[in-house]
């Protein structure tokens, strides 16, 4: 059996380190470590902890015992929870579709050569820049039961005799908060899609025009396919933001009237933080995860299939 001398061992050790530092797999893992640590600390841990709390009966000020799926069982029988699920879906689906349509339309308008183009683009961003609470307060006034500016104009024009009960009637309240969310969310969609539109080469449109393509055909066969990757990303974020909206509702209605505008996020806060039932609040928040995952998966596997974008057929 060969016996290594001291200097031989040193050489072997140096070789081992050298080899490690030249190993691409090791270096890759090493360089990813800080990012992974950040993600684990600030993303995975809170998420995992939230899910864990949802499996306990934890209350504010005292720890909880493991109760399995009991919180979910109670929620299943809770009419207010199911109302919040319905509200959240209605809010997300209607607001996201309208934000997409109006946002795309606005982006295409802004993509044309317009006078004061930079100024107009800055103006479009305004609703997105204004703090949510501030815009919620503005809508609070717009929808006020006594002093609504919309009601005032309609009464002054002689079109109505009394004020519209925007936030007092359950369905009026739902449409009103959806309108506020659309107003606030359009700029994000419009500006991001505008960035996407500007990456499309004008030569494609020129070629299509020479070939006699109509405006609709140019949109359908050039703009839409090339914009689809951006649309996928924008709509994923838009759906996520809308699904998890909290501030607009909390400032304007607190989830009222009679819980008609409670979203899952606001109900979770009301139950967990204001009411002190941390376990149940966490269960409501956790119940949002499958829906959010479904939205993300739809976006990635549905909208980002490249063959389809390039005019081919998907398998």
């Amino acid at each position: 059996m060969a016996v290594l001398s001291a200097s031989g061992r040193e050489v072997q050790q140096v070789d081992w380190r050298k080899r490690l530092l030249h190993n691409r797999t090791f270096l890759g893992l090493l360089f990813m470590l800080p990012a992974a640590a950040l993600l684990l600390t600030f993303l995975t841990f809170p998420l995992g902890y939230g899910v864990w709390i949802s499996l306990t009966d934890e209350k504010v000020g005292r720890g909880g015992a493991f109760v399995g799926l009991e919180n979910y069982g109670w929620l299943f029988e809770d009419s207010v929870f199911w109302l919040s699920v319905f509200n959240t879906f209605l809010y997300t689906v209607v607001a996201s579709i309208i934000k997409f349509v109006l946002g795309l339309w606005l982006a295409m308008l802004l993509n044309h050569h317009l006078p004061f183009k930079a100024f107009l683009r800055a103006i479009v961003l305004m609703p997105f820049i204004v703090p949510t609470v501030l815009s919620a307060l503005a809508f609070w006034w717009i929808y006020d039961s006594q002093d609504s500016v919309i009601s005032w104009i309609l009464i002054e024009l002689g079109l109505m005799d009394e004020t519209i009960d925007f936030l007092g009637d359950p369905w009026n309240a739902r449409w009103s908060v959806i309108a506020a969310n659309i107003w606030r969310g359009i700029p994000f969609v419009a500006i991001t899609l505008l960035a996407g539109l500007q990456t499309i080469s004008p030569s494609l449109y020129e070629a299509a025009t020479i070939d006699g393509a109509s405006e609709w055909q140019r949109f359908r066969h050039i703009t839409l396919p090339l914009l689809t990757p951006i649309i996928a990303v924008v709509m994923t974020f838009s759906v996520l933001f809308t699904f998890t909206d909290f501030q607009l509702i909390w400032v304007m209605t607190r989830g009222g009237p009679i819980n008609a505008t409670h979203l899952m996020a606001t109900l979770s806060y009301q139950r967990a933080i204001v009411g002190g039932s941390l376990g149940e609040g966490a269960a409501i928040a956790t119940a949002m995860i499958p829906f959010l995952l479904a939205a993300i998966l739809f976006s990635y596997f549905g909208l980002q299939r490249r063959k389809w974008q390039q005019g081919g057929r998907d398998d």
Partner: protein
Amino acid sequence: MKIFTRRDILKSSAGAAAGVVAGPALLQAAQAWAADSPFTPEKDASIRLLRWKHFVKSEDEAFMALVDAFSKATGVAVRIDNEGFEDLRPKAAVAASIGKGPDIIWTIHADPHLYPDSLVEMNDVADYLGGKYGGWYPIAEFYSKRGDSWISIPYFFSGNFPNYRVSSMKAAGFDSFPGDTDGFLKLMAGLKKNGTPGGFALGNASGDGNCWTHWILWSHGGRMVDEDDNVVINSKETIEGLKYVNAMAQHFLPGCASWLDGHNNKAFLQGECHLTNNGISIYAAAQRENMTNISEDMDHAYWPVGPVGKPMEFHVQFPMMVYKHSPNPMAAKAFIAWMMEAPQFNQHLQGSVGYLSHPLRAYDDHPVWTEDPKRKAFRDTVDRTVPYSHSGSLGNAASSVFADFVVVNMVAEAALGTKTPEEAAADAQKRAERYYRS
């Protein structure tokens, strides 16, 4: 024992109202108090107090002047942080959970009962103040005690009473505010008929909404739970109350269904609402803004008595609690004791102009209650209030049911007619049972 002179109060509150920091007289008094105080702060102590954001500016000014005098006299640095109620309660809970944060929190309702093990026992402070100032009102003691231990000090209560326009009430055929629910319903009808309607918040208004809807429930004999915490909201008494509220809501000002806490203040000050429920802040704002057409024509009344035959009102408590994690609990106790001693408490009570009411009987004759007869109802706030748990125990279930607007939603459903009284009561029963499950 004479605990206040009118001159002292006027002098101190004028200084406070003008935003003047504690004057030499106040400082001297503070130094004298500190020398004899049974509560000696720790050496080099500092404390942090978190309180709710004030609703009446002069109350905050009076409070800060007293804090300043305490700091100068005792050498204890006091930092005051302010938060809205919605943020204050979770912060208080987090402080209890993690064992870090403010030394004292001036909180709301019976929140100390949510985390009693995190709080310093305050028996010595409660006995000292109770013995010196005529004793605590029973409800104050009930809210702050757990077994034999005081887990908080009931610092103030805040009354929430009917606010009404006197001329409109008279035009509706009433010389004085009706004392029973039948008369109240007739007044509502008369006000509506004359185009001067009243209105009450039916949205998720945590203050005003909870106060008037609990009066509806309790005054008709309904209650959330019995003495053993069994949920009994689905009762014939509750249903009678809901039938009453459905009749009452026919006379409401349009738009009440969406009202949160601030809406009725605005509608009343704009002259659109002629009867609502609130603290004294509408009246205080009308006086401050020289809206004499409102302030001179409005008054406050006790809640009418319903079929149960006795007052069943709900008013809000604001207790102070000291956390066990505080490194300076004696400084915190000294601070609370100092604030509730007559010279200071007089000034704070005066500065609050009726928004806050006293839990110690010695302050019943305080000039703040006699110098303006329109504040009189607020003097009796603590004497008339029922705890939000009614006959049940204080704790997580009572707090959660209250925070989840179970009573507010039930009353709103019946008032708006989206559910029959029977359906609304049955639904509330189901919701409440979830919280009271063992």
